[in-house]
Structure formats: C-alpha cells, structure tokens
C-alpha cells in the first residue's frame, strides 16, 4: 500500500505519534479523573456542600447509636452517619463487615440519591484497616485486602 516513509521523516513521525498518544493519554486521564475520582466527605462537608446526586463519593463518620435498622427483607440496612455537626442517612444492601456496629467508625462508598439519602455500595468498618503490620507490606492486593477484610 504505502511505500516506506522517507528516511528523514520516519523517526520524527514515530516520535510525534508516540508523543501525541502519550500526551493524549495524560490529558484523557486528567479529564477522566476530574469526573471519576471519588472524593472523601465528612458528614458536615456533605451537608454544607453536597456532591451532585449519582456521583461516586465516599462518606466517613460514626454510625450513630440507635440509628441502625434492618428492612423486612433482612439484607437492607439503614443507619445514620454523623459527626459532631451533621447527620447523613445511609442505606446499604449487603453483608456488613464484622466490626460494623453502632457507635463505630465507617467509610461508606456510594452516592447520594436525589432525596439526599446516601446509597452505599460498600462499607469499610473504619478500624484497624489502617494498621498494617510490617510483615504485611509485602502482601499483594489480594492478601492485603483479605487482611483488611479480616481485621474489620
């Protein structure tokens, strides 16, 4: 089809292609990150400046004592995450981590629905997942996550 590119230009063309692709990748990544990175909110921040509904964010705080209710289906739970100034209602469908209980810390991954309720896809009991013993530093994602799972 096409003849070999002219001697003088081949390297230039290759460099330009590579640069365009890589810069493109970088720009694409930054653009996507602006939209897709999931920000961390405390209840007060979420109350003062709520993220748009449907956007993936994380919410961290305390599970308010007395707020935990289970729906009749047995797998949907509702509770309130609060800090000293604000409270956010959360609904979660799934198997909760073992250390998740009223009065304990939690990080919920999910999104706000239009009614201001936080729909969680995943709960991380905020406990010793931060405690990473030295020997676990070599663990792979799987192992580390397993450990986190197990320390919950």
């Amino acid at each position: 089809m096409s003849a070999p590119i002219k001697a003088k230009h081949q390297r230039l063309v290759l460099v330009v292609i590579a640069l365009v692709a890589l810069i493109g990748a970088g720009l694409l990544a930054m653009w996507a990150l602006r939209n897709q990175a999931s920000y961390f909110y405390l209840p007060a921040e979420m109350a003062a400046n709520p993220p748009e509904a449907g956007r993936a964010v994380r919410l961290g705080g305390m599970v308010e004592a007395g707020s935990l209710k289970t729906d009749p289906d047995g797998v949907t739970i509702r509770f309130t995450v609060s800090d000293s100034t604000a409270r956010v209602p959360v609904v979660f469908k799934g198997i909760v981590p073992d250390l998740f209980k009223e009065g304990s810390g939690v990080v919920a991954e999910g999104r706000l629905d239009p009614r201001g309720q936080f729909v969680a896809d995943n709960l991380l009991a905020k406990h010793d997942e931060k405690y990473v013993p030295r020997e676990m530093k070599d663990m792979t994602a799987a192992q580390a996550r397993q450990t986190i799972e197990e320390t919950k």
Binding site: A141, R145, E150
Partner: protein, 647 residues
C-alpha cells in the same frame, strides 16, 4: 552461627558487587585493561554469595533461631515448617534479601552464558547490574539487616499470625519478585547498550529471554493474585484496581510492550531507541511499584507503615537508578543511529501501534494510581477506582486488541491489506456477527465489545498457521498463538462475567431455597465448626444446577482468636461453564441468615486465559533458549574441529 555466616556472605557479596563495578568501569575506560577479565567471575561469585546469604536466612527461620531479631519478630516455634520456611521472605528484610539474591543470580547467569554481545557492552551491562545491586546491598546492610541479633535471645517468636499462614501467600510474593527483579536484567542491558552505543539486534536477542522469563513470572503472579482476591475477599470481583494490584500490572504492561518491541529490533533492527527506553521503563516500573507498596504512602496512613528512613532510602535508590538511566538515555538516544525503515502497513507498524497503546494504558494506570497522592498534596482526599480505570484502559486496550488480530498476519517491512484480507475476513465477520447478536440481546457496550472482539480474536490467533506445515511451525510461533488465544479467552471471561453474572442477596431461614440463575440453592443447616486457631459457623448448602444432582457448598463465617479477627470464607461450585459463588453473612434478629450468591458464567476463563498467556511465554522461551543452545553447541563443534585440524 548460621546467621553470622549469612551476614558475612552478604558483606562479601556487597564488596564483590563494588569490585565488579570498579573493574568493569576501569576496563571500559582503558582499552585492554586486565581488570575486564575479572568481571564475569566476580559477577558469578557475587550471585552465589547472595544466594548463600539467603539460604542462611531460610535456615535460621527453619530452626527458629530466636537470637535473630527478624526470626523473633516474624516466626514462632509452633509454626508449621512450610510457614517457617516461607517466613524467611514474608517480611521486609527477608524480601529485600530475596530481591538482591535474584538480582545477583540473574546477573551471574548473564555473566556465565551471554557471549553474543561485544565484550565492552557486556562489561557495561554487568557494571550497571552491579550498580543497582550495590544500592540494594547498602540498603540491606545499613537500614534493614536481616541478620540483626537479639541479645538476650527472645524466649519465643511473635509471628503466629494466622493470616499469613496460607500456602498461596507463601509462594505468591517470590513469584512476583522473580518477575520484578528479572526485569533488572533488561534494565542493565539497556544501560550497557546506551553506554557503549551498541543498540543492535544482538542486544535485543540477548535481552529477550530475560524479559520473557520475568514476564512469565509476572503473568502467573498477577493471575494467581487475581484469583486469590476473587475467592478470599468474598466480594465476587476479580480485579479491584488496588494500588498493590496496579503495582504488579504496570511492570507487566511495560514488559509486554518491551517483548514486542524487542522482537522488532531482533528481527528488523528497527525501534532501536524505543526498545532501550522500554528496557529502562520496565524495571523502573518494578521499582516504583515496589516502592509505592512498601513505603505505604498509598495504602496506609499510619506512621509505622511509612517508615520514613526506609522509604527515603528506597526513594533515593529509585531516583538514582532511574534518574541516571533516563539522563543517560536523553544524552545518548539522539546518537543511536536510526533503525531500518518500514511502512505503516507492516508487522512493525502493527507492533508500534501495540507499543503505543500498551504505553498509553500504562500511563493511565500510573496516573490513576498516583492521582490520590497528587490530590492530597493539593489538599483534597480522593480515591480512584473502577469508574476511572475500566473505561480509560479500554480506550487503549480495545483498539490494540483489534490490531492484535491483524498484526501477526502482516509481513515485515511492507505489506498490503489486500493480501491479508481473506485471512482477516473470517474473524472480522465473526466479530460482526457476535456483535449484532449481542446488540439484539441488549448487552452493555463494554462487555459487548469485549465479547465480540474475543470471538474474532480467538479465531484470528490461529490464522498465522494458515498455509504452514504444522510440523514445521517453530515453538516461538506456537507461543505467540497460545498467548494471543489466551488474551481472547481471558477477554471472553471478563466480558461474560460483567454481562451475565446473576447476583442474589437474601435473608433465608434454614430449609429455604433460593434461585440464582440456573441454580437452586437450599440452605440446609448452619453448624459450628472449629479449626486449629479459629471457630466458624458453617452453612451447609445444597446446590442443584437445572435440577441436576445436588452439590454441597460450605461457606463459613470464621472467627480467629489470636489475634481476634473475623473472615468470611466463600464457597465455590465450579462447572465448565462458570462458577457458583456463595458467601454466608450474619444472622438477622428474626433468625434468618444473610446469603450472598452469584452465578458467574465462564468467569474461570479469565484465569484460564491468563495461564494460556503465560504458557505462550513458556513456549517462546523454550524455543528461544533451545535455538540459542543449538547455536552455542554448533559453534563449539566448529571450534573443536578447527582446533583438531590446526593440530
């Protein structure tokens, strides 16, 4: 005693690495300097000494020598032997020792067997290897001495952590490490080639088996890690874009690109500077990944996870090694003469496309992994997950896979689409047909693309065999076919999993049945069971596939007592066409049990495909090494005959 021997061996190995570096440097500076003859033997002995130190560490772990601090902190006399053994590298110091051992042994092996390259290039390569090794020796001896003594000896070890006692965990890290560190050879070859300005097909051929070997281990490590995450976490997913996972994926992407560009350089003497660059980047990604994971700056926020001294030391090493290599590249690459030319429509053109796309994907993963760090430096806290990684990597991977179907059919240098149209037509038609069927079934975009591509790719992978006599097809070509077919298989598994998975989350009384996809699962009873260091509630479930024979599943909610931790053990029922995945949750107040069930059609194809990819690497490696051996033997025979004739 053994600990002292190990420490002595380590010091000696470090000294030899220094000698290796200095001798090689002198020989390079002054043509004909006698020191050049020293380099190869020293490299070999240095590797053996590092290995001896590592064997000593294993020995002190196996006999639980509690006068060694590392043993006292990480082992226990009551541990099963396997875990005492594996405990040697299941900690920071030991894994760093494993790192230098692999580096030393690989360097020694290169010194022993590689005779194709001009001697100055070999000297520069071994000097580079010694330079990198020296940094890690210094790190070990100064701030992470694995043989540090405890006086008085501890009465008992502390490491009886049940979490770390798993056969997979024992052998997974070394597998990944061999992959990471094996790439150091590619790095050293690249630096050696830059220093002596000898970027040639011989350089690519010398480097290729090492890249292949490392890449095989990386592939297996990633596949195993993914399956592990899948069955251990109980979340039903098989890839989470966790920084630790990304740390193993990034060197893999770079090594995959390097393998392909090295084949262009080896066969056609083109892509010269680029291949050198990738050689530098691949090992850099290993070091960056290891650093990000080990320093804890991404995964953990606790002070002791970020040990500032060690983190700074590794960061310094990283900056020195990678920085120096990149500066060298910037200085020398412009003087690397331009390679052979080729048309856009050619095997080279397709491989350039493959490389650019792989590098783009690498950039996406790297940026996504580092972004939380960047955001935090700017004052916001974010996490980056699948909503970013999935579509963004697909942008690069999907076009690459489309070209993958065509590339192997193209001729080197120049070709035309007209010639290969008949071969491409059938897979393309299959892709189109699959896509239209799936559109009618209303599938989402990404799974649809994946599945249609997988169908076309699976067929296209075998197209290079067309018109060849099967008995004459060489092993590397079989390797390529296996690996490309593996890509199609894995892609099919991923698409099937994301498109067809059925999930049920219910609370049931014992005796109640749940339908999930074609399965009917009955929770028969819950029984308490006990293990060596845990108790558990175990669900006894009966699962029938389309009313067939019952299979029993036993998911557990396990509680360990030392240290107190709870885990859920998922249960799997595997069929040829997928897996049933069951997790037992908590008991609700009304006595019902939470169950989470998935029917995941063809999910096992993901790992099966991954293993096929690794198998392709193994076939190619055997083929390459075998033909190298044959050539060495033939050359030896000729030399022998000449000698006899000369007499």
């Amino acid at each position: 005693m053994i600990a002292n021997l190990g420490l002595a061996a380590l010091w000696l190995a470090a000294a030899l690495a220094l000698l290796q570096l200095l001798a090689a440097w002198r020989a390079l500076r002054m043509a004909g300097a006698k020191e050049g003859a020293l380099v190869r033997p020293v490299a070999i002995v240095q590797g053996l000494l590092a290995a001896l130190a590592f064997v000593c560490l294993i020995a002190v772990f196996c006999q639980t020598d509690l006068s060694v601090k590392l043993v006292a902190m990480n082992s226990h006399s009551a541990k099963p032997m396997l875990y005492k053994f594996a405990g040697a590298w299941g900690n920071h110091e030991g894994s760093m020792l494993l790192w230098v051992t692999i580096m030393g042994l690989a360097g020694g092996l290169v010194a022993l067997v590689e005779r194709r390259l001009p001697e100055p290039t070999m000297l520069a390569t071994l000097a580079a290897q010694a330079f990198v090794s020296l940094g890690f020796y210094a790190f070990l001896l100064i701030s992470s001495n694995p043989f540090e003594r405890l006086d008085p000896a501890a009465p008992e070890g502390q490491g009886l952590n049940p979490l770390l006692q798993d056969p997979g965990l024992a052998f997974h890290p070394p597998t990944l490490y061999i992959g990471y560190v094996g790439l150091s050879i590619a790095f050293s070859f690249a630096v050696g080639a830059l220093i002596t300005r000898e970027v040639s097909p011989a350089f690519a051929r010398a480097m290729r088996p090492w890249v292949l070997g490392a890449w095989i281990f990386l592939t297996i490590g990633i596949v195993a890690g993914s399956y592990w995450a899948y069955y251990e976490l109980g979340w039903g997913g098989w890839w989470f874009w966790d920084p630790v996972e990304n740390a193993s994926l990034m060197p893999w992407l770079a090594a995959t690109a390097l393998l392909h560009s090295a084949s262009v350089l080896a066969a056609r003497n083109a892509l010269r500077a680029w291949t050198v660059m990738l050689g530098v980047v691949a090992f850099s990604m290993s070091m960056v990944g290891t650093f990000l994971v080990r320093s804890g700056i991404l995964t953990s926020v606790h002070a002791f996870a970020v040990d500032p001294e060690r983190g700074s030391f590794i960061l310094g090493l990283l900056a020195l090694n990678i920085g120096a290599a990149l500066v060298l590249f910037a200085l020398r690459a412009a003087t690397v003469t331009e390679g052979e030319r080729f048309a856009v429509t050619s095997r080279e053109g397709a491989l350039v496309f493959n490389n650019v796309m792989l590098t783009g994907a690498l950039g996406i993963v790297l940026i996504g992994t580092l972004y939380p760090l960047l955001a935090e430096a700017l004052g916001t806290k974010v996490s980056v997950g699948p909503p970013y990684f999935n579509p963004m990597t697909a942008v690069f991977v999907v076009p690459m896979l489309a070209v993958l179907a065509v590339g192997p059919l193209l001729r080197w240098r120049q070709d035309s689409f007209a010639r290969i149209t008949p071969m491409v037509a059938i897979p393309a038609l299959l892709t189109g047909a699959a896509a239209s069927v799936l559109v009618l079934k209303g599938m989402a975009v990404l799974p649809l693309l994946g599945m249609a591509l997988a169908a076309g790719l699976a067929l296209a992978a075998f197209m290079p065999l067309r018109g060849r006599k099967l008995s004459r097809v060489n092993l590397p070509l079989w390797g390529m076919i296996a690996a490309h077919f593996g890509v199609a298989v894995a892609l099919f598994g991923m698409a099937a999993d994301s498109a067809w998975t059925v999930e049920r989350l219910v609370a049931v009384q014992t005796g109640q049945a749940v339908e999930v996809g074609p399965w009917k699962v009955t929770l028969r009873t819950i029984v308490p069971v006990a293990g060596p260091n845990w108790t558990a509630l175990e669900g006894e479930m009966e699962a029938r596939y389309k009313g067939g024979d019952p299979r029993m599943l036993h998911p557990q909610a396990r509680a360990f007592w030392a240290p107190p931790q709870q885990t859920s053990e998922s249960a799997l029922a595997t069929r040829w066409n997928g897996q049933l995945y069951a997790v037992l949750g908590e008991q609700a107040e009304d006595g019902r049990w939470q169950l989470r069930l998935w029917w995941k059609p063809f999910v096992t194809m993901i790992w099966f495909g991954g293993l096929l990819i690794a198998l392709g690497g193994v076939l190619a490696l055997i083929g390459r090494v075998w033909s190298d051996l044959k050539r060495i033997i033939a050359r030896g025979k000729i030399a022998y005959r000449r000698e006899r004739q000369g007499r």
